[in-house]
């Protein structure tokens, strides 16, 4: 199996590592770059636990080979905090609303919601459900996640005003 050097930007930092051609992006992030915040749930693109943002769009990092991400920009859950370690309004709202239990789907949910709020600062409940509709959670029944995203949207609007 051939190996390749993959250079990419993750959470604003230039990174480089070796990957076999068949290595998925999520394995590369977790095993090579040691960013274990992104999780593996199904490895066939259904559960959304491995969601990351690639060039501004949420993707399933289990369905992308690491080599395909060469030269691209990735944001993972580890990149959502401020540079001073402060929580983003979305993270804070997830905490305030207890929008998780086991936490395993949470990074994917945060990525999906983060992207939604960047595109649509005032999403309706239906739009929130649409945005997280590709991310499965077995703990929460989604309700407190929806409430968290609504709260974050409100807070971010307040902050922007």
């Amino acid at each position: 199996m051939s190996t390749h050097t993959v250079k990419l930007t993750v959470n604003g930092k230039s990174c480089e590592g070796e990957a076999e051609a068949r290595m998925t992006l999520v394995d590369f992030l977790r095993d090579v770059l040691e960013l274990t915040g992104t999780h593996i749930g199904c490895e066939h693109g259904v559960c959304g636990a491995c969601s990351v943002i690639l060039d501004g769009k949420p993707v399933r990092s289990c369905l992308i080979y690491a080599v395909m991400a060469d030269g691209h920009e990735i944001t993972t859950v580890e990149g959502l905090e401020g540079s001073d370690g402060s929580l983003s309004p979305l993270q804070d709202a997830f905490w305030e609303n207890h929008a998780m239990q086991c936490g395993y789907c949470t990074p994917g949910m945060l990525i999906a919601s983060h992207h939604l709020l960047q595109e649509n600062p005032s999403p309706s409940e239906e739009e929130i459900r649409e945005a997280i509709g590709g991310n499965l959670c077995r703990c929460t029944g989604y309700q407190q996640i929806v409430e968290a995203v609504q709260m974050a949207a409100e807070k971010m609007k307040g902050g922007a005003a």
Binding site: T36, E81, Q101, Y104, L136, R138
Partner: protein
Amino acid sequence: MNAPTEFRYISKKRRVKEDRRFITGRGRYAADYKLPGMLHVAMVSSPFACADIKSINADAALAMPGVHYVLTGEELAANINPLLSGLDLPEVKRLPLANGRARYAGEWVAAVVADTRHIAEDAAELVEIDYDMLDFVIDPEEAIKPEAPVVHPEKGDNIFFDKTWVWGDVEGDFKRAPHSLSLRARWSRCSTVPIETFAVTASWDDGREMLDVWASIQMPKYPEQIARALRLPVSSVNVHFDVDVGGSYGLKRGIRQTVIVSYLTRKLRRPVRFIEDRLENMAGGEMHGPDRIFDMEVAYDDDGIMHSLKITATDDCGCYPGRAPLQLGKPVSAIVGPYRIGSAQYHARSVSTNKTSQEAVRGFGQAPTNFAIETVVDRIARELGMEREEIRRRNLIRSDEFPWRIPSGSEYDSGDYHAVLDKLMEAAGWDALIKKRDELRTEGKLAGLGLSTCLEPSGGNSSFEPLFNPKNDTTTWMESCLIKVDMLGGISAMMGTSTSGQGHETLLSVSIGEVLERDPDSIRAIHSESVTALPSNSPVGSRMAIMLGGAAAGAARKIKAQLIAIAAHNFQLPEDRLVYEGGDVYVEGDPDRRLKWEQLVDIAHRQYHNMPLGSEPGLQAQHTWEVPTGGAMPAADGTVQMYPCYAFEAHIPLVSIDPGTGQVEIHDYFIGHDCGTVINPDIVRGMTFGGIAHGIGAALYEKFQYDESGQLQAGTFMDYLLPSAHEIPSVGMVKHFTPSPLTEFGQKGSGESGYLGAPAAIAGAVNDALAPLGKSIETLPMRVRDIEALLNG
């Protein structure tokens, strides 16, 4: 009763301690632990429903660069003890890898160990196995027949368990009652299916003679089970309970997986890791849930009063009898639901088939039983032309009747079921919902309202073990907490279990904060390693709020007593002249004569000359307690006090069905819920919403379907359908608070809430929608294709 207000921290809005690490990507799950020199496992699975293993040739696999070992079932069986069975079936050996015969499609036959998981998977394909295909049986009712192929020939038949209990004058009640009806209700094989599969890493250290284990585990007596299987002292097994578990809901009991990697790390002298991929998890992980046929018979009168209930539950346990058959036992705890039914007969039958085994699933068999009972109640209402709400009101146990003993021997601790139902009907706007349903009907849709009322037995104990296995005399079901107050006044609290999202760290800190009157945010909660942990039975049976909360409060009370004793000695006053306040102790009526928390702690740690004579230095206390009302063996007639506390819930969904496609849409969903005193409102809400979502999945989508050749047809998330945010509605929740008299703060369990009544309520709503057509369906899941077939022939 309104929310109690006398608490300082209990029941108050408080951020959940655990959440901070999860929102920043800093959870530490089993797959996040990486050890130097670690090897990886992939499984070779049997493709056949039943087959003898004639030979295994691993030469080609072993020749691959990076492959270290191929472990067969034969080698493993020769070097370990068989795994624990819930039943007395010595002839049925449960082993981690098939030995000689594979008994279901997907059963693990060999484990390949390599430098990477990729290489292990490649090599697994090169393992050549010569099989002889054998007859098999998939349908549990076929499996009962004498001519059926036998899954375990050593056993002689496929009946793992078959027993009937009669509690009260069942035949007399049936004779006297003017009406009776019978029906069959089917709960199909589904599970909790956590998003994280089972993952485990084991590392044997020859120098320390210690096996370290990091696993996504939720299981009682896990270290002991590992030690027994591996023939090691328990003190040589160290389970790291601080591993975050990515969902479990009762399920994650990967003892087979653990024994495989533990054996391999000892053999190969390298850390060994196995992370199930999704197919390994669904087909071979032995983590399916109850798969049950209910034959129900009820005796009732013209007023809709139920007098007696007969239940035959035939459960397709799958291949091996781990704890699965006991899931027929826990429902004995609430065998007549929340109703004043005077007598009951329970025929419980656990049947073996050529399918992957069952494991414990949220509710431990109670959700299917509740579904069957509620189906009966709705049917009586339909037969009598009575409102479903009215029939429940007439049969529910009344608030002034507690404690209420049910025919099978359990005493329900407390409740006000009518009040919860009243609150729910008001909050849901029952009349408005009926109007909305009828409007949907005029639009050409089939629409229906559901109603279910049921119980969540909580607190957990082991009573079903001796009930199902007379050789098992376990009556102890304890939980523990150790509190240390350090020299600078910091409080740490230790539990001996891992957590899979239940918020145990928050529970410990709030319970201790409440007793010691200290800010819970200042209290650190720690998951001990198993070698230093006090006895625990892990978070099963909806028990931790009760048992771990109680253990924490008990230990905190001992700390408080030590502080008061130190103060009494220093003031030279009797203890009853002193007042404890927020960690300080002052003289009654003279608050200025006060020893502050820091001073008392300092005395305890540094000033032995100021300590009461003969007292223990430092400030630490542990509390281990037995489950309330536990500790008794079942009586000869099978009556026994099972779980101590009984939470109540009532559900109302409004659904519509597209008459063309059979697609069910949930328009509204309301739940009334009473789990006594709530420790953390956000946690209880979340568990309840999550339980409802899980119940909606069981009712409408989720099924481990096997085809006629014994192949699992739902091995991925493309064919085992988990509900998403699209399918799950917003839920309106109304709370009621009837404290339990048996627990520290009046709390009951809520870890299974929502799931226990949602399937019944959804089924009731679908059947209400089908009623105008004179049709009904009593089989879960009610999938689109099932409803479409029913509607359109």
